[in-house]
Structure formats: C-alpha cells, structure tokens
Amino acid sequence: MSYEWAWSIVPRAMPALLKGLQLTLFVTVVVIVLGFVLAIFVAAGRLARSPLINKPVAAYIEFFRGTPALVQLVWVYYCLPIVLGIELPSVASIVLALTLNVAAFYGEAIRAGIQAIPRDQSESADILGLSYVDKMRYVIMPQGFRIIIPVVLSQSISLFKDTALVSTLGVADLMYQARVVATETYRPMEILTVAAMIYFVLAFPCTVATRLLELRLARARH
C-alpha cells in the first residue's frame, strides 16, 4: 500500500500557513525581547547576596525549568484568570507564560556567564574605584556576553520551535493553521510536512549561524 501524495494542495494552503507564521514570529520576537530584559533582573536576583532575594529567584528558576512548558502555558491560560480574577487576551497570556519560561533559562545563562569571569577582573574594577554599575557595564558584561550570547541564541531557536505548543490553546500560530488546513483539506501528511519545512528553513540557518558565532567568539578574544 502506498500513499498518494497530493502536493498540489500546498499553494492553496500557503496563505493560511504564512499568516500563522506571522503570529509565530511575532510571539517569538516579543518573548525573546521581554524574556531577555526580565532575565537580566533574574540573574541579578540570583546573584544577590541577600537570601530574601536569591532564594525566591532560585525557586522561580527551578520551577520553570522543572515543569513542562505546555503545563505552564495551560496553567497561565486557564488557571491564572481564576486565581487573579483577570481575563487576559489569549496572545497576552501565552506571551506571559513563555516569557516567564525563557527568562528562567536566559537568567541562568547570564548568571553562568557572569560567574565565568575570573574574580580578579571584578577585584581590579573595585580597586580602580568603579561603581557596581560601571563594573558590570564596562568590565564584566562585555566579557560575559561572549559566553552568554551563543547560549541565549540557541535557547531562542528552541523557543521559536516551542511556540508550536500555543496551538493547543487555540492561538492561531503556524502549527494551529497547519492543523486547521489539514483538517479542511483532508491532507494532513502534505500540510504538516510543509509546516515542518517552514520551521526548519527558519531555524536551521540560525543554528548554523549560532555555531559559527560561537566558534568565532571562542577563537578571538576581541
């Protein structure tokens, strides 16, 4: 028994898929930006001396790293409105859930990057009289970013793919559109294959670029 592919269906499906892709890319970019900003505070909180700050932040990180992203999405989507009594638009609620998720991962990457800088760099900045902010800005972060950037990039690529989870909540991303079109046309094999290729065509060059950047940063110190 052999399956008869009907690729002719694809052109008809493309407009819907590309519309879904738009939302996928929008969510990805917004979550990367918000997640990175939040992650800076997460890393700072994780490195804070006071246990009143670093313990809760560590708990937050471990919670979001230790539970499935799908569970987090569903929880924020269905449970948060009941707990807080506020109704969020569905895109806002998935952006919130994914942002909290990636900020935990980015935050750990930033913390690790900062801690990888030898202690004498920090001590030299201290005895040269630099303030904490100047020390971070001019001495620690420029060196830490060489370590942090590749990690954050590869996690961002994972995020791009993981956004497919939001289709289960009825948010019309690429995956959701693919399922809708597949059902309408009775051609799930073709449509899902095309959807997979769209994800791959976008993710793979980013993966290659990240690897090249990583090699370059590892080889040259400046």
């Binding site: 004498d120 760099q121 001590e123 201290d126 005895i127 040269l128 009289g129 420029p142 060196q143 110190r221």
Partner: protein
C-alpha cells in the same frame, strides 16, 4: 601612611593572619618576604580592602579605612567613604588582571573617566604619559593578549597609577614572568620608589628587597616574625626562622 593594627584573618579553620600590625611611613618602600602561605598576600589584600579581616584596623593616610571587632561577618561594605580611601591605593597582581576586551590605552583610561570623571581627552593624554613612563608608548592600541608578561605587568602598573594613588601595593608581580622579563618590571618599580612613592611589595626578589627596600618585613605562619632595614635582615637577622629562610633563598642563587 599605612597603619595596620592587630589584623586577624582566617579561611575556615586556617589562621592566615594572627595579630599582624604594619606601619609604613610616607615615601617608604616596605618589602614583605616569607615562605608561601605565610600570609603576605592576604596582608596586602586586607590593606586595600579586598579581603575582610575578622578583627583589626587599617588606617590610611590618617583616616580610618577598616575597623572590625570580630563580630562582623561577610565582605566589607563599599560605602562612598570606603571607596574614596580605597582608590588612594593602587595594586598590581601576579596575574596582571588587565581587562582583555579593552586596548592597553582603554585599560588605563577607564578608571580616570568613570571614577574621577576626567574628560576623555585628558584621560587619553594621561594614559599616553603613563605608557611613556613604563616604556610602552608604542603599545597604546594593542590588546593585552598581544603583549609579553613583562609588558602586561607594566601596563598594569600604568593603569594603577592613572588614579594618582599615594600608595602602591605589589603582590608578587614578577612571579608569573619569564626570568628575562623580570628586570623590566623591577626597573619600573625602582623608578617609582625613587620618585618617592609609598610602596608595599610582596616579592621573592631578594635583590630588589636588598637594594630598594627601606624596611624588610619577614612573615611566617601568619605573623610578622621580624622587621628591619635590609642590611639587618639580610646581614644579621635576630630570629632563627628569618635567618634560615634568608639562607635558603640566598644559597639557592
């Protein structure tokens, strides 16, 4: 210029400094010698506030810099006053500790610009002047990893001098250098000493101690065993421990 009183410091159960006191007069060059693990580096790090003693006091230029009575825990609090006194001292480390992502000139300019709010052009002129002083005016635009160990260490000295410190601390600055590069760093230090800089130098270079020091301090087991002018310490030390250390390092040559 420096008055350290009864400094006590332990790492876990190891007592690194036991009631160490040290006086340094303005313009004086004090060289601290002693076997590894005797507490020399920890003493320097306490003087500049990188290490918090459990108890004791440090006065810098007549001002109280550190006072601890054994109940305080954790690192020193970097108050504005603390930072103001701290930056009257410069320090150079064994491992250079230059900022690898900045050019030599930027390494030197960073602190004047950010700490003292010196205008960019003036900071650049100051950096060029200091590089000329350490004989590296042609290296301004290089990155640290293009320099030899001796050159890196001279840049580190120039960087420390950029804040115009009244005191310079040197922590085994020639220990990581190839033998043929040691003299270029020592000659810069000798130049500073003859300019009248107050200096505390931890070193294994006995020749430098002998020729440049006004006072030699011998430490062992976290205490100051003996101190005196170099002729006394090297020629006729009182304490048997001092004599046996001097004998060992000198017969080694």
């Amino acid at each position: 210029m420096i008055a350290a009183r009864q400094l006590q410091k332990r790492f876990g159960t190891l007592e690194v400094l036991r009631n160490v006191s040290l006086d340094v007069q303005p313009g004086e060059v004090v060289v601290v010698i002693g076997p590894s693990g005797s507490g020399k580096s920890t003493l320097l790090r306490c003087l500049i506030g990188l290490e918090a003693p459990e108890s004791g006091e440090v006065h810098i230029d007549g001002q109280l810099f550190i006072r601890r009575d054994g109940r305080d825990r954790g690192p020193l609090r970097r108050t504005a006053e603390f930072r103001r006194i701290q930056r009257t001292m410069g320090m150079v480390f064994q491992q250079f500790s230059l900022f690898p992502h900045l050019t030599v000139r930027r390494n030197i300019m960073l602190a004047p610009i950010r700490t003292l709010a010196v205008p960019e052009a003036e900071a650049r002129a100051r950096a060029e002047r200091l590089l000329a002083k350490v004989g590296l005016e042609d290296k301004a635009l290089e990155y640290p990893d293009k320099l030899s160990g001796g050159q890196k260490q001279r840049v580190a000295i120039a960087r420390a001098l950029a804040l115009e410190p009244k005191i310079m601390l040197f922590d085994e600055v020639t220990s990581a250098l190839d033998p043929e590069l040691i003299h270029e760093v020592l000659s810069v230090m000798r130049g500073l000493a003859s300019d009248g800089m107050t200096m505390v130098v931890v070193t294994h270079e006995m020749g430098f101690a002998h020729k440049v020091a006004d006072k030699v301090v011998f430490m062992d087991g976290g205490t100051v065993v003996e101190e005196g002018p170099p002729t006394t310490i090297f020629g006729g030390a009182r304490e048997p421990r001092t004599r046996s250390f001097i004998e060992k390092v000198l017969t080694h040559i």
